[in-house]
Amino acid sequence: MIKKMIDGQAFWQEIINRISKGERTNFFFSEEEALFFVGNKKISRVDFTGGVYFFIEEESFYRLYYFLEKGKIPEVLPEYGKPMILEEVLLAAKERVPSEDSWQRIGFKPYLQRKRMYLASKNITFEERKVTFASEEMLEEIFQLMQDSFEPYSSALPTKEELLLDIQKQNVLISCKDQKLLGFLHFGDIKQGSMLWHIAVMPQARGLGIGEGLVKDWFTAQRDIAKKFLLWVRTDNPPALQMYEKLGFLPDGRVAPVMIKTT
């Protein structure tokens, strides 16, 4: 039976209890985020023997989170009428539990995979570069390029309002020619570091080194603040992988496979 969640504190206590028992999960949110989901009535649940599913509703799909007791396998999901997205964060070197097969048995298909890469600031040879931060006037253009460049389910795209805030915080860098946008890079703060959230180059400007230039701009913009630079890259994007490797990024062992169940 699908149930709406109403008590945020009880929800958080349940999360901690399940984690403390070593249950398998893809739920890695903070208390604040967990309370936010309940407060916004975005989350519902289905309980079954040996586990629980949590569903977070987005406009055109659901994000699925689970907790499973040791040795249990995922159970059949109720029909929801929108695609269901299952994103996990795993260690590449470790066996996946629950297995991909067990998700496929209940209707999920592999969708894409990302891996995380990092670069310590001390290993960067910084260049003197003139960086350009996005201005508020460019919001629409950047937002459109973002919508056109990323897959819709697991790219964690910001809303236009969130993007505007990040532009105001100087967390969006751009590459321009003759006042025309060629590409942008959107980053955010993490403790002692900087995370690349989104980077995209206009189709007609690809292959010209604009992406690499933006990444170097990011290094320059954050060199006094960040001890490390992090990013997630799709494993089916060889040009991007080669670019990051050339710049010195190394995989840190984390991978994030995404699976989809369509109706």
Binding site: S20, K21, T25, F28, S30, L91, G253
Partner: protein, 75 residues
């Protein structure tokens, strides 16, 4: 300690666990690491990490994690 170091290095090969004594407070370990680590500790040492023990001070250093494991093994 050897088992713990093996778990930690597998989890985060990029972190200097011997030097860093503020693993959580400095942001070196994030929530994914903590959740994964608790799961690994439960399996490796056959313990349950109580909800009240999932606090930064128990995960800030190798020594703190080891002390937590030893205390839970005695319980």
């Amino acid at each position: 300690m050897e088992t713990l170091m093996k778990i930690l290095v597998e989890l985060r090969p990029d972190v200097d666990f011997e030097e860093n004594k503020e693993l959580v407070d400095s942001g070196e370990l994030d929530s994914f690491d903590i959740v994964s680590l608790v799961g690994e500790l439960c399996d490796a040492y056959d313990i349950e990490v109580g909800a009240e023990d999932i606090v930064p001070e128990n995960f800030n250093s190798v020594e703190a994690i080891m002390a937590l494991v030893e205390r839970l093994q005695e319980d």
